[in-house]
Symmetry: C2
Subunit: 257 residues, 2 copies
């Protein structure tokens, strides 16, 4: 049987340690092609490049990477996936894996996540897809304990098939804390960010802001991704891009529209 | 009773005719404050500004606008809403309306939409919110026929309350075609974009791409937004930011994870 073709991408940029680790794990499962942003794209959500040119070039980041080919791209994570599928890959990949992100994309973070937008873009195009994130923002985060779990999730996805219209959002607890206890299928916890804007004045006397904030968990269910992570488990949330709130349709139909 | 406080934003930028029209419609319903990007932000998805400074300034775009105050912001649509809610508004608005976008945000376009990302950001923060789009990309689009319908939808939203966790995605058919027949509550049609990259060479000899594509409708249900629009109706899709694919949880639990 032919080896699966695995598209690897991310939002931290093609040189990020999390992506380099993911390439190592994936080359044991199939043929790997990397198409990833040439610079960090965190917080890009599902942005795409409409009014600007896109550059892409074949690169070699790491002599030992074991990838069949690597391309950097000037665009967003979603752009990378579009370009990979339409221009750069010779055939449709068997799976797209995005990450491993330096930092959490659990709960409401999925909405802002460039990592997940790449996976969702692949899902929209009919390619099974997984976004992977480690809950550690450090560039020196220890990805090593993730390896066997990530391989297991990807292997199971290839074997069982991810349901149509669904993309997996995988978050991995910070491994220094208490080790990884296993994997749990979860729902997205309700939460938001309590923003705080840090207002400053630039050297020219003009005010500007830095966006900062605190994560506010509004959900104490024991079936959520936040709960699983807090207990040392990897969370797997099946995530969809049909955003229809079906439960609200009946209610809206009672309005005088 | 105090007049409702209405936050108006968009992704086409604060000078866009669609936003100016929306301000006109909204000032008949309440007190209007505008916080919108200082330049076009189409296709920004739910991007937020994490690694860069945000500027905002009080501006007067239109002497006759009737808005209580207007602020332009250097960030994305989601940034505008965060800044409005935390820094610029004196109290929580009663509703946030985003648009009127120049171009469709129906079906899968909701995923890429800056217009909807602003509305979703407000929804996450507990503010009732509506994204509004006219299916006409022209800067000279005729917004006039939208007015009474937009006012009706906003008035009904204020009276009935939009369900928690739900944001309305409103799309308005191009009015030249056959007039607006009414309003339908719909689900998001399944669709994707068939990308085509237009590959060119720049004057320095380097290849680059323009992203182009064709919308591919994969869904012929008569309860979708695309169907309603094709019949001359305004589509209202209740849209949620809990992306969990609940129907897939059971299936994933049968995997060997």
């Amino acid at each position: 049987m032919a080896k699966p073709l695995i598209l690897v991408t991310n939002d931290d940029g093609i040189t990020a340690p999390g992506l380099r680790a993911l390439v190592q794990y994936m080359k044991e499962l199939g043929d790997v092609v990397v198409v990833a942003p040439d610079s960090p794209q965190s917080g890009m959500g599902h942005a795409i490049t409409l009014d600007n040119t896109l550059y892409s070039q074949k690169v070699q980041i790491d002599l030992e990477s074991g990838a069949m080919a690597e391309y950097s791209c000037s665009g967003t994570p979603a752009d990378c996936v579009k370009l990979a599928l339409q221009e750069l890959l010779e055939r449709k990949p068997d799976i797209c894996v995005s990450g491993i992100n330096h930092g959490s994309n659990s709960s409401i973070n999925v909405i802002y996540s460039g990592t997940m937008s790449a996976a969702i873009e692949a899902g929209i195009e009919g390619v099974p897809a997984i976004g992977l994130s480690l809950c550690d923002y450090s560039w020196e985060a220890n990805f090593a304990p993730c390896g066997p779990f990530v391989q297991k999730i990807v292997r199971e996805s290839l074997e069982n098939g991810i349901p149509n219209g669904v993309v997996l959002n995988v978050n991995i607890p910070k491994t220094e804390d208490k080790g990884i206890h296993g994997i749990k299928v979860c729902r997205q916890a309700r939460a938001n960010w309590k923003e705080k804007f840090d207002k400053r004045t630039n050297p020219m006397g003009k005010d500007y802001y830095w966006l900062t904030g605190e994560f506010e968990l509004l959900d104490h269910g024991e079936d959520t991704d936040e709960w699983a992570l807090s207990q040392g488990y990897i969370s797997v949330v099946p995530t969809q891009f049909d955003l229809t709130a079906y439960h609200a349709i009946q209610q809206l139909n009672t309005w005088d529209l």
